[in-house]
């Protein structure tokens, strides 16, 4: 009996968690979503991807700023993420905003998946929509470019000509991608000063990690400065780089003539130089097909691809894999993609970006960092953590099937105003574990700086009506839940939270929410949330959202 009832996937244990759901992954009103568990989120993902696929044309018209709409992923240099346009998302949202009956929501129940819900720390809260927004529901915009090694800001104007790479002395090892140092043959050499006489070829690049040295490929420098200029010159002379430039000019001419806004900022294009001539050939042939409808002039590649038999023979005679470059090494040098480790070049380091985020639904700015690369402060930072109650599992009993376990949930209020919380358990989950919430309605005291240092020592402020809750300390209230798992395996429950509080009245609620991006970027929007008027008006706000709370794995009862 025990063996049959054992939880599936015994090797993996599930940790308790509290996840919040953005509207985009919450149970929707569509009928299909309400029957099967997890179908609603799948539906939404599909909708998302189709929106992303079909709206690229719309994207071009909407983006006014040169560098918006998409941003390179931090880890994969040059990867482009084209986001769906806000208009297509608005329709997606309005669907969700339809009033739903509680039965419908509960029927869809626990449709959680790991991707749809996330911890509060990754979410945003748009105070003009009054909704949670996940990173997918925000739109990134580039605020500034900087080098992750020397941390210098790079003006947007020079980003394009420098091909998204640092033009100072920052290089990456072609073997292990660690940062290289400029070293001298002469160990006694002190700081270089211009005008100093140095031995020719005295300086070279060296890797602290894998001991690679640019001497190995015969690369030396006379001076320790201005190496990037030398390297970029060599890079620009490569046939693939030239070919890419030609093709780009060719297509841009077409865009200009037809008055089309370029969908992608061309500075981004320069970082995705697809170096292989094969892909260029592909592009030119597809262009040929499109000629009838779009009348793009036929593109003739300047470089002709020839059968590379020499390379093939060399590769066939290889006895050790160390003699050839790895796929990763080749992909990091798109402009030549050599198979010979001898021909790998040190690379200038790719720039990183700082980005701001907008709500996709109302275009309100959610995150706006300070412009300087090294600053870690934000002019606007509407993260959910500072605005919504933070739910933590304060105490948990082991989960046993058909046995009541006690769980203490703590709700912490980050706001400066008292808040009211009401809870409803979703009962349509599969498996539908027994949930009993002992206090479904309660208040949480406001956050107060003074209490910060005495966590857990203060009781409810005087004058407060004593509520039927488990515990009340400082700005948090704890409540008790009885959980009765019905099946072995991971126990997680959907919980619908309604959070009401008094908020300062927003100026923008009366004004137009669509601010021109230039204005917002210059920091003017920062004052939106803080009206200068001496008397602060308060409005009642009510926010509802789904959470998914996991309590770890339930073990079968011995009696069964």
């Amino acid at each position: 009996m025990l063996a049959i009832d054992a939880p599936p996937g015994q090797g993996k244990t599930h940790q308790p968690f509290v996840h919040y759901r953005c509207l985009c992954s919450s149970p929707g009103s569509s009928a299909t979503a309400s029957t099967k568990s997890s179908s609603s989120s799948i539906h939404d993902h599909e909708a998302d991807s189709t929106a992303a696929g079909t709206s690229s044309a719309a994207d071009m018209n909407i983006d006014n700023t040169a560098a918006s709409s998409s941003s390179p992923a931090p880890s994969s240099a040059g990867a482009l993420i084209v986001r769906a346009s806000p208009t297509s998302h608005e329709s997606l949202f309005s669907e969700h905003h339809n009033p739903r009956s509680t039965e419908e929501i509960f029927a869809s129940g626990n449709s959680s998946d790991e991707h749809g819900s996330m911890s509060l720390s990754r979410l945003y809260f748009c105070d003009s929509c009054g909704e949670i927004r996940c990173p997918k529901c925000t739109q990134d915009e580039i605020v500034c470019y900087y080098c992750p090694n020397c941390l210098f800001d790079v003006p947007t104007a020079s980003v394009k000509s420098e091909k998204h790479k640092c033009s100072r002395n920052c290089f990456e090892c072609p073997i292990c991608q660690n940062t290289l140092s400029v070293v001298s043959d002469d160990p006694d050499v002190s700081l270089y000063t211009p005008g100093m006489t140095t031995a020719a070829g005295q300086y070279h690049l060296s890797c602290n990690m894998c001991q690679w040295n640019s001497n190995e490929i015969g690369m030396t420098f006379d001076k320790p400065t201005g190496l990037a200029v030398q390297l970029q010159k060599a890079e620009d002379g490569l046939p693939d780089v030239k070919e890419f430039g030609r093709l780009k000019d060719h297509l841009e001419k077409y865009f200009r003539v037809h008055g089309l806004k370029q969908g992608l900022p061309s500075s981004l294009l320069s970082s995705i130089q697809s170096g292989t001539l094969q892909s260029l050939r592909y592009v030119s042939s597809t262009n040929h097909k499109a000629q009838q409808s779009d009348d793009i002039a036929h593109y003739t590649p300047a470089v002709q691809v020839v059968e590379d038999t020499e390379n093939l023979e060399k590769l066939m005679s290889i006895t050790s894999l160390d003699e050839t470059t790895s796929m990763k090494q080749r992909l990091l040098q798109l402009q030549n993609q050599t198979y010979s480790t001898q021909r790998l070049q040190p690379q200038r380091i790719h720039l990183r970006i700082k980005k701001s985020r907008r709500c996709r639904s109302c275009r309100h700015i959610l995150v706006n960092p300070e412009q300087k690369a090294q600053a870690t402060r934000f002019k606007i930072n509407l993260v959910a953590l500072n605005q919504l109650p933070n739910i933590t599992i304060a105490h948990i009993q082991p989960m046993i099937v058909q046995t009541v376990s006690t769980v203490i949930l703590r709700f912490t209020n980050p706001r400066q105003e008292e808040a009211h919380v009401s809870l409803e358990a979703g009962d349509g989950a599969n498996p539908n574990h027994g949930v009993r919430i002992l206090s479904e309605n309660f208040t949480i005291a406001p956050f107060n700086e003074v209490w910060e240092y005495e966590v857990g020592t203060l009781t409810a402020p005087p004058g407060q009506a004593q509520e039927d809750v488990y515990d009340k300390t400082a700005n948090s209230t704890s409540i008790m839940l009885y959980i009765t798992p019905v099946a072995p395996g991971e126990v997680k429950i959907p919980l619908f939270v309604t959070f009401s509080f008094k908020a300062r009245k927003l100026q923008t609620e009366t004004g137009s929410p669509k601010l021109p991006s230039q204005l917002v970027l210059s920091g003017a929007a920062g004052r939106d949330s803080m009206p200068p008027a001496p008397e602060v008006e308060y409005v009642d706000k009510k926010v509802s959202f789904w959470t998914v709370i996991g309590f770890g794995d339930a073990v079968p009862t011995l009696s069964s």
Partner: protein, 189 residues
């Protein structure tokens, strides 16, 4: 989940006026050259080499650690060294506020900013610079002279950027180190 309460033996730890809690089983060399910012915890077996200072100079701060830092069991804080103009020397190290350094990690960085979490069994190479709001995953090697920019998560050997931290990370790390300090309490005995 809430952080668990850590009970320590009252006889093992010394608490300073500013609330630092230092294990008697830690190795503190050259304590006159070490500054602890307050409410910082040095656990059993942690090592700080304040004795490794630049030759010739008199009294100088060699290692400064900020407020609400947590130096886990067996971690080693060792000032970075190099030979410059033929002279071998050690250089001072600065660690910011709200920094957690994991068990068995060796740090030879030049600076570690504030709101930084370094995992277990990491090696932070000589003269590495870790900026504010960073996370270094367990078993990561940060090579010498590496710069880790803000809001990065580094992992691997050599450590590379694998992800970015959310914008709320400063608040999260600050709350976590404060919570850790509040839950590091003497055993009732």
């Amino acid at each position: 989940m809430d952080l668990p309460i850590i009970h320590y033996s009252k006889s093992e730890y010394i608490e300073t006026d500013t609330g630092n809690k230092v294990s008697r089983k830690s190795v503190i060399c050259g304590s006159q050259n070490i500054v602890l910012g307050g409410k910082t915890i040095l656990q059993t077996g942690s090592v700080i080499r304040g004795d490794l200072k630049r030759t010739g100079t008199g009294h100088a701060v060699v290692v400064s650690v900020g407020r609400y830092c947590f130096l886990s069991q067996g971690c080693v804080i060792r000032p970075p060294c190099k030979t410059y103009k033929g002279v071998f020397s050690y250089y001072p190290m600065k660690i910011g506020d709200h920094v957690i350094i994991g068990e068995g990690t060796i740090v030879q960085a030049a600076t570690i900013g504030s709101f930084v979490t370094i995992g277990k069994n990491c090696v932070i190479g000589r003269f590495a610079i870790i900026k504010d709001c960073c996370k270094i995953e367990d078993n990561t090697v940060i090579p010498p002279n590496t710069v880790v920019p803000s809001f990065s998560i580094y992992k691997g050997s050599p450590g590379k950027l694998v992800d970015e931290l959310p914008e709320s990370i400063q608040e999260i790390y600050e709350a976590r180190t404060k919570d850790r300090y509040a839950k590091f309490i003497p055993r009732a005995d």
